[in-house]
Symmetry: C2
Subunit: 537 residues, 2 copies
Amino acid sequence: MQGHVLYNIVPKMTDTTNKKERAHEETAKPELELTESVVANDNNNDDDDEVLENKMENQDEPTHVTTNLLHSINVVEAHKHKDYGGAKGHDEDEQAKKVKQKRQRFHVDHLKDLFENEMDAGYVPYNETNAEVVKRFCSKMHEDDQPFYIVNLSHFARQYYQWIHYLARVKPFFAVKSNPSAFIIKILGHIGAGFDCASVDELDLVLSTCSNIDCGKRIIYAHPCKPISHMKYFRDKGVEMTVVDNEDELHKLKEHWPNAKVLVRLKTNDSHSKSPFSTKFGANECEIRRLLTLAKQLDIHLVGCSFHVGSRCYDINVYKEALEFARKIFDIVHDEEYGFQFSIIDIGGGFTGHNWDKPSFPEVAQSIHEMINKLFPEKKGYQLMAEPGRYFSSGDTILVCSIIARRLHNKEYSSKEEISEAQKEKTKEKALIESAENIYYINDGIYGTFNAIVFDHKVFIVHYLTKSNDKQIPEQYKSVIFGPTCDSIDCIAHSIDLPLLNVGDRLWFPDVGSYTNASASSFNGFKTKKYFFIWRN
Amino acid sequence: MQGHVLYNIVPKMTDTTNKKERAHEETAKPELELTESVVANDNNNDDDDEVLENKMENQDEPTHVTTNLLHSINVVEAHKHKDYGGAKGHDEDEQAKKVKQKRQRFHVDHLKDLFENEMDAGYVPYNETNAEVVKRFCSKMHEDDQPFYIVNLSHFARQYYQWIHYLARVKPFFAVKSNPSAFIIKILGHIGAGFDCASVDELDLVLSTCSNIDCGKRIIYAHPCKPISHMKYFRDKGVEMTVVDNEDELHKLKEHWPNAKVLVRLKTNDSHSKSPFSTKFGANECEIRRLLTLAKQLDIHLVGCSFHVGSRCYDINVYKEALEFARKIFDIVHDEEYGFQFSIIDIGGGFTGHNWDKPSFPEVAQSIHEMINKLFPEKKGYQLMAEPGRYFSSGDTILVCSIIARRLHNKEYSSKEEISEAQKEKTKEKALIESAENIYYINDGIYGTFNAIVFDHKVFIVHYLTKSNDKQIPEQYKSVIFGPTCDSIDCIAHSIDLPLLNVGDRLWFPDVGSYTNASASSFNGFKTKKYFFIWRN
């Protein structure tokens, strides 16, 4: 890299279809069906959406466009990407704008001191695009080629205020696992959220970040299967509430945490969620009856129900079913005189974190609000809580990587082996890589932030920044993006259209806050550790 | 867990086939074909093999038997496990014994002080079985339920001496990535090995563990695609040698590390390796000619060739082909007068680390030894080196987990949903879990040590220890093993025969040293951090 060269944003055109079709694709949300394959084609940057639309009016000007990321394990051919959500593109784009406007109402000026003085975040006007922000930080990095995150701290606060606005009765307990970063915990702790901790390490993180937090009121140990050592630790730190879904757990509680307030975790229908949980956790009615009987015998203090509809739930009816199931259990407890005073309902998580989600959070929240008012009316003293993780952490975090190496004209050098039909299926990945024109190596990969492709069905979107001053729309080449490790499984994209990029150019990925760095390893000595903070109002 | 209760080893019978068939299966090595599915059925514990055989003679007595682990992502039905290597079982068992006997020749008494005083390792006689060692450490842990590793430190030294014995001309540079643990680096550094580092963090680990190491002679930066910042760091620390496989890399070297000694990395046939690398790294003849020309123009100091046949290579011919290719390049460099003095050949890795591997290491080493003597005779002054990782790190490391929770009689509570034929394929995992009798939750999982199932095609073997005093062979139940996190993808085994186990009983897994903790994350606050060291002679 050459000194202080400012990066130019050079446009990327994915295909030659007409304007309208392109606009649809470029703003489409990720596919909602649970498939083994992922195709990226969404857009996180609210502002970019507008820029995009304006730019589309004038084809002479360059545009920022998202592209498709195909993962090496779950492969879908590039031409298939039109199948995913394309038809709804414009609709979602409109929705994203609406939701964004609503979110902007939740001002965060009063956190200026926290952001700027305590957390060293720079102020950025709301109308500055992500691309502009990325460009600025790339310039600031000069010759430092390490990857970094840019985090908009006000996002977390804004999400909290949006939650309180639409779901005032439901107290959010941030699921720390989605992004166990002190900066999120600090902000959410500061403005009053609770925390869902699932292990000693998560509890310690919250305790060390939020001094003097009232563990009894603001922390729930929301894991139904607890190591005894962890159980004792939570008890000793003053946490009061936990969940249970099997009989052994009641015996463990009796012996090690007899005064815990316990929620029974219900098994729900999670078939509409991207990451279902009900094979692993939750009790059905038959099991719950046994739990109620045993808890009564053991004198365990059951206080209500919890459920989790699975991560990223796109069907409001699933919450309805789960709440009705909880109501049924409340009635059973009352009518059959088990002797417990059930008053708490923990509606878990499943809330997505993006403006383009359909149904949007305001819509989901509105429905839940109506349902709980009907099933668990406020005047009867029911208390509601939830465990949102992704809702808070996924948006407004950008990963910026450098191209650390490249292999050009790859096709010329590909092995000329004859591949039999029978072998073709097995070697599809290899064939895709060998038939690509150029290969780029960047400094975060499948063992790092992109582990979410493997573990979280995550769809990534790639943008690029180049030092080239060429304002023309450059020629596109079929390209491969590899991660930095020595392992060939560390392939982020098989077959993606990119212009000719140079070592030192940047690729950036919006929306990488949840289940990314949280489950990244340091394999081969690579892990993205650098953070820049901003706040927007 | 109740105080100092000693664990009993209770036998596990996998099926009802006759003795001979069982013996074959139980000692079979993992399947060699590159498939997406994994079925465990191997046996690391040399001593256990013998115990097994003895026990098999007397069916009244309990036996230790390995079982099958099916991963949630790559599913193979349990009945299929006989397809994998079963026929060769007895053969491999004999081989394992032979190789073990050979390895025992390499005594490590002279490292007693290092092991016992510097590294706090307890001595264990060579004929004490792994099961006995595990039992002892479980008793030592008392009520502490955290997972832990037991590492036999003498293994690393013994592997080194075995290497030197069979491949005296080839200097091993331990591939740090396979297990970046200070204890391995300390021992291998102490007895004279070199190190293959691929990043700043790996180099720093070696430097901080081996004080005053001669970086120029004992470290190679063996990554063909280097971030410029890392390149400068290696240069500044005195590392002298690296590899290259693309033209950009030569330009980067020219600018930032002009005096490096550079090996050209060749593209090899890796179709017989479990983890192939040649789609990601390596240059073919056409590329190499360009690299030679460009390196000459740039005055880069090329000194030889390197290659990597892919991780776990089971075909000796692949080394032969690669060595012949290297010979060809040496001849081209000489005959076409590029002006380089090629003298170094780095034969990379690909060496497996288990006694039962066929071909065994002594066999592979013998062949390579003959080939290099023919192609690169000693008297001509050729220097040979290699980058073994798994060869050193995979064996003699045991993971011991606790059962932290369980769900009994799972089948009774399974959802009674009707599943259509079309859905069956999609819901196979769910169906397997729901049809299991019992579910166990242990405290390491897919985000931890078992990430190797996802990323490294690793086959795990499970043993168990229970506090029960029942000496009878207990009834078996179809069981599921889940990891400790909140995520349902964190499933280690779908459908495995286990007796009724209790919370606090242990599951242990031999042979988990390579590409396990190296690429584990701390997701949800769970990571195995505790180590016990032993040494055997």
